[in-house]
Amino acid sequence: MQRVGVFICWCGTNISSTVNIDEVVAAVKNMPGVVYSKDYQYMCSEVGQNLVKDAIKEHNLTRVVVAACSPRMHESTFRKAAKAAGLNPYLLEIANIREHCSWVHKDKKAATQKAISLTKAAVAKAILNQPLIPGEVGVEQRALVIGGGIAGIQTALDIADAGYEVDLVEKTPSIGGKMAQLDKTFPTLDCSACILTPKMVDASMHDKINIYSYSEVEEVNGFVGNFEVVIKQKARSIDMEKCTGCGICLAKCPAKTALSEFEEGLSKRAAIYTPFPQAVPNVPVIDRETCTKFRTGKCGVCAKVCPTGAIDYEQKDERLNQKYGAIIVTTGYDLINLDSFGEYQYADHPDVITGLEFERLVNAAGPTAGKLVRPSDKKKPKKVVFIQCVGSRDKSERGKSYCSKICCMYTAKHAMLLRDKYPDCEAYVFYIDVRTAGKGFEEFQRRAVENYGVNYIKGMVGKIFPTGDKLKVNGVDALSGEVLEIDADMVVLASATQAKPGASDVGRMLSISTDRDNFFTEAHPKLRPVETHCAGIYLAGACQGPKDIPETVAQASAAAAKAIGILSKSKLVNNPCVSQVDESVCSGCLACTKMCPYEAITEKMVEQKVHGKIRRRRVAEVNAALCQGCGGCTVTCRPGAIDLKGFSNKQILAEVDAICQ
């Protein structure tokens, strides 16, 4: 027989003004198992907690119920108190008589009855509570960063600086990401390469950071502190040890037919290439689809010219198994495909370009060596129209309902760069709204209007008609209602950002969720912005939602701090409210394994003595370190062989029974 102590909190007048405490105390005394009850004005205060502690010792309480505020508020407080008094903390239950009772009901009598009922349910549950002991697992003191853009670089540097090994996995041949493609950055107009390149070099030189470029994460298993990851290193066809990055092969390669990804297709590159001159690592890769040697077997020029013999046509993909304590996802974003925006002629007219293409066109290292000319005839434009929100804030099928966040600012930047280069060139910006929430952002945009004379037009462009060598832009000025027709030489589209196409696959691999737009979901939109629902996996940068560089970097450091928090521990404790299998009842149907969101349940064979005979049986087995305690498996289990500690079938049924009295 359990000895239950019940402690009823007044919460000042918060509870006591609506709930008649005396009546609750009186009713509690008659509840089965209750041997002690006490009310106090502030149970969570030190004095109140001492009441609990003292009573546990004095009255040999084996179970404790605190009727007070929400367990989300003070369950841990009281559990600590119980623990301090020598009682297993999980033998304590909370009855929520504030948020769920005194604060939502006016009728004192009804509220009092309900408080009694809720307390009774808590007592009924507590009697069935079992002492639980959180398990401990070791932590692999190494972090994995997936994605080598600015977010990934920053995260890796922060973690490495804290003294932990970091593996940075990048899909493309070089780290740097989207930021490497940018010319200048708002709102300071400092050169993107000038601030990024040193960080890339830092990362490559850091003795705690290992960069796996041209690699992908292929498989993730395990759990916080102990992730087991398979990294695929794609065959580069170059021996990274031997290559000096001299670049002769790049120049001599005869197959210069592929469109350069880095230059957004505005120029061609060789089959053997580094994406850009400052690439890290500065080791080329052979694009086997373009390479003549791989296509026809003939050529081999690069191998002939390589002074160190680094070219290796026989190289194969390699797989690397590594264990990590924490994972940070920094996979970044993409721009949407504009094929379905036919009215803007993007697919059909070379002088209609995206903002990212504009960045390359104005970049001194870009395809035009920084000379801003029309892609079609290489002439200097006289009139340039910028269109914002192409696909952003667009609820239709082809667009994205959200704001891409960065376009207002970079469009202002583009217009300023344009006017700076060619003061005689007119710049028009069509916008729905101009959003400049950020430090120095509003000032920056005003400068574009006031100092640079950029024409901002509130309204959308209906259609663009290529007429002769001009692009006739038809739009409406929404403020005046005037129909506008601008003969532009170039049109720059601020196309919407979107999650990487493979994001949902990555999410599935990592068991982290994605939202309806395939951006990864943070654990809480406000209070846990860099955590995911999967312990030990964190998010940074635009893979979680559209972001500019300062935000990305801030989040990257935040994610790093969270990861360091895990890595700095030698052991982690688990939530002990996990599922467990009664092997004697389990039929081995494994329905539970199919629904478990964490793949925490596996099968195993057991040998059981049944009526004197040894029977080998298949049963389910829960990995307590992986189980997060949702309890979904318990419902798939028809015979109830799998049950959730802390929320067992019997406990919940007891609560139902008690509530229905």
Partner: protein, 154 residues
């Protein structure tokens, strides 16, 4: 006459105090109920909440047990699909209880007596609305006798 009749009606209405058992997931709906409290919203005391980690923890047994023990209505509330703290738990809830709800209706349990809804941690208002809505309908239906164990005294 009419006054007396009215009084009797009022008395009857008062005599029926429905009991609604609500299973709320810890991360969204229970927190939503907490928010309803913090915001001092109002809903009747007839609704009593049982905390479960996830709506997918709710077993059909619990729902039927509540009816057996005299509940006049049962509610299951969880995170909105896609927002589950456990990623996918409530997708299973959705399937399980779509079928159970129809099955209960099929054997003659009035539909208004069993409600499943999605209430996020920020939807204190919705929590109160859903609770009030169910209660209002159950009140109209009157006490539930179906599935109820004749031996149980409430």
């Amino acid at each position: 006459m009419s006054v007396i009749a009215n009084n009797a009606a009022v008395k009857n209405a008062q005599a029926f105090e429905p009991l609604i058992v609500a299973f709320c997931c810890n991360w969204c709906s229970y927190a939503g109920a907490d928010l309803a409290g913090t915001s001092r919203l109002n809903y009747p005391a007839n609704i009593k909440i049982i905390r479960v980690p996830c709506s997918c923890r709710v077993n059909a047994n619990f729902v039927l047990r509540a009816f057996q023990r005299g509940a006049d209505g049962v509610i299951i509330a969880g995170c909105h699909p896609g927002d589950c703290h456990y990623m996918t738990g409530n997708y299973y809830t959705r399937r399980r209880f779509s079928l159970l709800k129809n099955l209960l209706a099929y054997v003659g349990i009035e539909e208004a007596r069993f409600k499943v809804d999605w209430i996020s941690a920020s939807e204190g208002n919705k929590f109160a609305d859903v609770m009030n809505g169910v209660l209002e309908k159950v009140h109209k239906l009157g006490p539930n006798r179906k599935l109820r164990d004749s031996r149980w005294r409430r």
